[in-house]
């Protein structure tokens, strides 16, 4: 495991306690799992994502990422409707390991309340949470 100081924690995303991230993209949000989460899980071999158009509450399980070690649930960072899923992951689930905040994104969400983005942790708060683990 890389030390927390070496983990990539971008400034332009919000973080959750379940180690998901979300980034504003116009009126929608893009979400994925953090560098910490992918490192903890190890090689990701399968990603199970919801149907486009499904709606979930904040914190609801919307899919799973499966690594060689475990099957981990994915939780909605904000309430909303799934507006898109990453089509590349079917053949390249390892993109989640390789580029968790970029090509390894999981879903695009149309938030029920655009203001809910403010409820996510900023980088400093998430960093402190990781330090405490």
């Amino acid at each position: 495991m890389r030390p927390v100081d070496e983990l990539i924690l971008p400034d332009d995303v919000g973080y959750t306690e379940n180690h998901e991230w979300a980034r504003k993209d116009g009126s929608a949000m893009v979400a994925g799992i953090t560098d910490y989460a992918q490192e903890e899980l190890g090689d990701i071999v399968y990603v199970e994502l919801p149907e486009i158009g499904q709606s979930f509450e904040k914190g609801a399980e919307f899919g799973t990422v499966e690594s060689v070690k475990a099957v981990a649930e994915l939780y909605m960072p904000v309430a909303g409707e799934i507006a898109g899923t990453n089509p590349e992951l079917e053949n390249r689930p390892d993109l989640v390991n390789e580029d968790p905040y970029g090509r390894g994104w999981l879903v695009m969400i149309r938030p029920a309340d655009p203001g809910e983005m403010q409820s996510l942790m900023d980088k400093a708060t998430y960093y402190n949470l990781l330090k405490g683990l």
């Binding site: 495991m1 190890g42 090689d43 060689v68 099957v71």
Partner: protein, 431 residues
């Protein structure tokens, strides 16, 4: 609170190699390194991987009644176990078996290495040394023998994979002599580690070894026992020498998926506190030729022959790589075609080197007859414990409460494994 985990002498090396750690058997051990568990798993099947297995416990059982004690405690009949013709175990030979309690439940499994007449090394799982040595000493009573725990005096590396032979040819002082006649489940030891021995077995810059053709991956490979002070030198030397063969360090995650695909049990998970019978590891039991009884009595044997509270352990292989989560507190259920619960899941992992063709046949990346362009994504596989006898080929559903996975009961999981191959065949294929 559990005590602070122990480390092996290679801990700093593992850190330098970017290991992701987990605690196993009381030791902080690498789960995988930077290359990741999938690459490590495939490396052992196609090339070579190096594992730190120094966390395993080793007991020496020696004295005039050592064989008698092992015959009383181990499920293997050491007087009828070696080779196809069931010869007695001899110095230089190795045998797999288990130690049971009176109820037939597994205390631990073991590999027994016969060092000399009435002198044996029993390697058991990490953290189990004290438990097993207590068991052996109790059973020994006043017998004339010693049980010595050598765990902290032993370093151990497993060099596994078909290219391990080529790497040893480069790194052993006298490879011709050492590898000559080193059949599957046999070993040679340097006189400096065991004075009775005749063959010099040295690695690189004069590191005395016990070299055993064994391992727990199902692939061609070797266990290297060294003194703890030589462990880091041996590790570095092998990794450097194996660069051309693309040797990489491998962690416990790859070890677990490799051993599962090879159909090998993990103690305290696939075998445990239930009668050690009706499982795929019948080689570990001393069945009489007609299969109705045993060739010897041993602790637990009576319970094994009493059919009252038996379970049936068998292997399974799935249809894609998706796993279910095995939790000890709420074990996933096995459902038959009618949806009735018939048992529990003991192990469920993904063997990333296997896949099915369009007809459903399982191939490995190294299967000679694999379909053209075959690129497996892996299949979930593992072991189930059923309440009734399994039928090979039967389809079941595994349910962990969140996910259901279809699986086929099978005799074997990953085909075309190299563990038992002739060394010369490997040399030909890899030179």
């Amino acid at each position: 609170m559990s005590p602070e985990p122990k480390q092996t002498p290679l801990f700093q090396r593992h850190r330098q190699l970017g290991a992701n750690f987990s605690v196993f058997g009381g030791y902080r051990m690498p789960l995988w390194y930077r290359s990741g568990a999938k690459t490590e798993h495939l490396a052992v099947i196609c090339r070579a991987g190096l594992f730190d297995t120094s966390h395993m416990a080793a007991l020496r059982v020696s004295g005039p009644e050592a064989l008698g004690l092992l015959q009383q405690c181990c499920t293997r009949d050491l007087e009828r176990c070696f080779g196809r013709d069931k010869r007695p175990l001899m110095p230089g030979g190795t045998a797999y078996g288990a130690y049971l309690n009176e109820s037939g439940g597994v205390i631990d499994d073991t590999l027994i290495y016969q060092l000399a007449h009435q002198d044996y090394l029993s390697v058991v799982n990490a953290g189990q040394g004290a438990l097993v040595s207590d068991h052996l000493r109790t059973a020994a009573g006043n017998s004339r023998l010693d049980v010595t725990d050598l765990t902290d005096q032993m370093g151990k590396l497993d060099l596994q994979g078909p290219a391990s032979v080529a790497i040893l040819i480069k790194t052993l002082e006298n490879p011709g002599n050492v590898l000559e006649g080193l059949s599957f489940f046999s070993f040679k030891v340097d006189p400096e580690l065991f004075p009775g021995s005749q063959t010099r077995v040295r690695l690189g810059e004069n590191i005395p070894l016990m070299l055993s053709r064994s391992g727990y991956t199902g692939e061609m490979g070797f266990e290297l026992f060294v003194r703890p002070q030589d462990l880091t030198t041996a590790w570095d030397y092998l990794l450097a020498a194996g660069q051309k063969e693309e040797l990489i360090s491998c962690g416990l995650a790859a070890r677990d998926s490799l051993r599962t695909g090879a159909g090998l049990p993990l103690s305290h998970q696939d075998i445990g506190d239930w009668p050690f019978i009706h499982h795929p590891w019948h080689i570990a039991l001393p069945f009489s030729p007609d299969g109705t009884g045993f060739t010897k009595q041993f602790i637990g044997s009576r319970a094994l022959l009493d059919p009252d509270r038996h379970f049936y352990t068998c292997a399974f292989v799935g249809y894609d790589l998706r796993k279910i989560t095995v939790s000890e507190t709420a074990p996933p259920q096995v459902l038959d075609s009618a949806g009735k619960s018939v048992g529990i899941v003991l192990t469920c992992v993904t063997d990333m080197a296997i896949g099915r063709d369009s007809g459903g046949r399982v191939y490995s990346v190294r299967s000679p007859g694999k379909p053209q362009g075959f690129e497996p994504r892996g299949l979930c596989c593992g072991f189930l414990r059923l309440d009734r006898p399994p039928e090979t080929g039967e389809l079941v559903s595994l349910n962990d409460g969140r996910r259901k996975v279809k699986a086929e009961l099978t005799r074997d999981i990953r085909p075309d494994r190299s563990a038992g191959w002739d060394i010369n065949r490997i040399i030909e294929e890899f030179s």
